[in-house]
Amino acid sequence: MSASLVPAASGRASAGAPTLLVLRDMLARPSGATGLVLVLLHLVVAIASPWLVPYDFKAISASLILSPPDAAHWFGTDQLGRDVLTRTLLGGREAILVTLVATPLAVAWGGFVGVYLGLVGGRLDDVLMRVVDAFLALPWILKMLLLIVTFGTGIGVLIPTLALFYGIPVIRIARAAAHNVVARDFVLAARARGHGRLSIIGRELLPNVFDALMVEGAMRWSWMLLAFSSLSFLGFGVSPPTPDWGLMIADSRTYLPIAPWAGLYPIAALSSLIIGINLSADALAKALGVDRAQKAPI
């Protein structure tokens, strides 16, 4: 790691290392390079897949039910005779779109609230952190299911729901990160100069917790994907016939021993994306000098 990448521990110039340097540092690690390539590949496929796919994802064929991979259908067909290659290529679009929009939203609101509480402290902080704890005591799946049962599924519900829930743990991370900064001299100086709270948050605190929030965001992304596909798998997410990995895996389970291709390809696609994100997040954490091993697995 080059000297300039040591996280700036003091002063307000530490708005994170320059993006290019961080990227280079991530690519220098084999795991980071693998992760970035996987994620990039998935993004490209998600964008380009409507023009790439060989068949119509809804096209049902009675004569092709569960037929094994061949020259015409590289990945075989599923229980309704639909092309598995087509559905696998398209199957991540919804998940990637929803989580890519929801993650920045979650990190943004959770990060802001956390930093604000870290700065203000006192009674408000005490009460709100109790509420956060209570909220985290409920399993994520219960909270998600309750909201989905109330408001239905679809992108319009899933994005705000995921953004809301996954922002709550971010509050804790951001608050802890802000606590490390609040007592520093430059924050005191800003207070002495008479800056308001918002100005201190925007100019002194946020730049200093930015690295921690970036790493947190990368990890939130993979957990959101996990939540999204689990919901689809349980039948509470994307509705058929929209191709979705979680749904495809659920549908293929009964036939898996006789037709493994219908499930294995979406499994490989989903796993490679999630592993890619995590490898990237790990490399990003190392490049930025943020320790992520101690993070609570919520």
């Binding site: 005591a137 299911l145 349980l234 898996l256 493994p260 796993s271 919520i298």
Partner: protein
């Protein structure tokens, strides 16, 4: 010391109270109530009003909350929305089964996680460590339903060694769940091991880098006794809290695993209760699960407090 324990207990109780409030108001905000679920198509006019009167739904929300919370404290959650069964009876067996699943997973996963985590740390950045860390990342990030499906495919579909679906009824004796329970336990233990292993590893590494370990090495303490007497006691204590947090996280993962394997536990009951809009049952399960989380965390807190004299000083620092 006593004051600190009391303080923790009180904070735990407050958390459970807050959770019950969140659950109650969340369910309160859902459209429909117990009567619309019970009467379904007939839920209109006089019949709806009569039913509401009968179940006491016309009372203000805070009265009903007090009634519900008061009952819950005594273990009485009222009747299921479909009106035929007591919730406490429905939940009891399921709770026992979920506990069985969780305890088996802990019994398998905990020793594995500690042993592998310690070895990974002692061989930091060598091949064993890199392999274990990569496996851990894979195990904790791949969704449970994916690893469960793969295990079913291999051990049930291809090899035919173990049943992939559990057909045991909810009130069967513990012994009846074997060998069906092996695969769900394996999935759960795998995820759990990965999480705990990573924490144990980083915790041990942190201690290995500390000044007093360097001091011990310099004064010639043999490696083995340095590890056993200086490193492990100090490194493993913080891991207790992570075990507790992992258990909490497992409570969510259990829902998916139980559904995949058709295991008659609390998680699957919750999914079906939500699909059936059985709100009373959902409330009860949510409260039970949250209480388990709080109790587990509380006991981890107390265990660390008892085991670590340094935390017993009067300085009370909120995390």
């Amino acid at each position: 010391m006593l004051r600190m324990i009391l303080r923790r207990l009180m904070l735990g109780a407050i958390t459970v109270g807050l959770v019950s409030l969140i659950i109650f108001s969340a369910v309160e905000m859902l459209p429909g109530d117990a009567c619309t679920a019970l009467l379904q198509q007939d839920a209109q006019g006089q019949r709806l009003a009569n039913c509401r009167k009968e179940l006491g739904l016309e009372r203000p929300a805070y009265v009903r909350y007090a009634h519900w919370a008061g009952g819950a404290v005594r273990g009485d959650f009222g009747m299921s929305a479909h009106g035929d069964k007591r919730i406490s009876d429905m939940v009891a067996d399921r709770f026992k089964n979920s506990m069985l699943l969780g305890i088996c997973a802990l019994a398998v996963g905990l020793p594995l996680a500690f042993v592998m985590g310690i070895f990974a740390a002692l061989r930091r950045d060598r091949r064993l460590d890199l392999v274990l860390s990569a496996l851990a990342i894979a195990a904790m990030t791949i969704p449970e339903f994916v690893s469960a499906t793969m295990l079913i495919l291999v051990f049930s579909g291809w090899l035919g060694w173990l049943p992939g679906i559990i057909l045991t009824s909810a009130n069967a004796p513990v012994a009846a769940f074997f060998p069906g329970i092996i695969l769900p336990v394996a999935v759960l233990a795998m995820v759990m091991t990965a999480h705990i292993l990573r924490t144990v590893r980083s915790s041990v590494i942190e201690v290995l880098d500390s000044d007093y370990v360097r001091m011990a090495t310099l004064k010639g303490v043999p490696y083995r006794s340095m590890v056993l007497r200086h490193v492990l006691p100090n490194a493993l204590l913080p891991a207790i809290n992570v075990v507790a947090l992992t258990v909490a996280w497992l409570l969510g993962g259990v829902v998916v695993i139980e559904t995949v394997f058709n295991y008659p536990g609390l998680g699957r009951l919750m999914v079906s209760a939500i699909s059936d809009r059985d709100l009373a049952l959902v409330q009860a399960i949510a409260l039970i699960v949250a209480s388990v989380y709080v109790v587990v965390n509380l006991s981890a807190d107390l265990m660390t407090l008892l085991a670590n004299p340094r935390l017993r000083t009067a300085v009370e620092k909120r995390p």
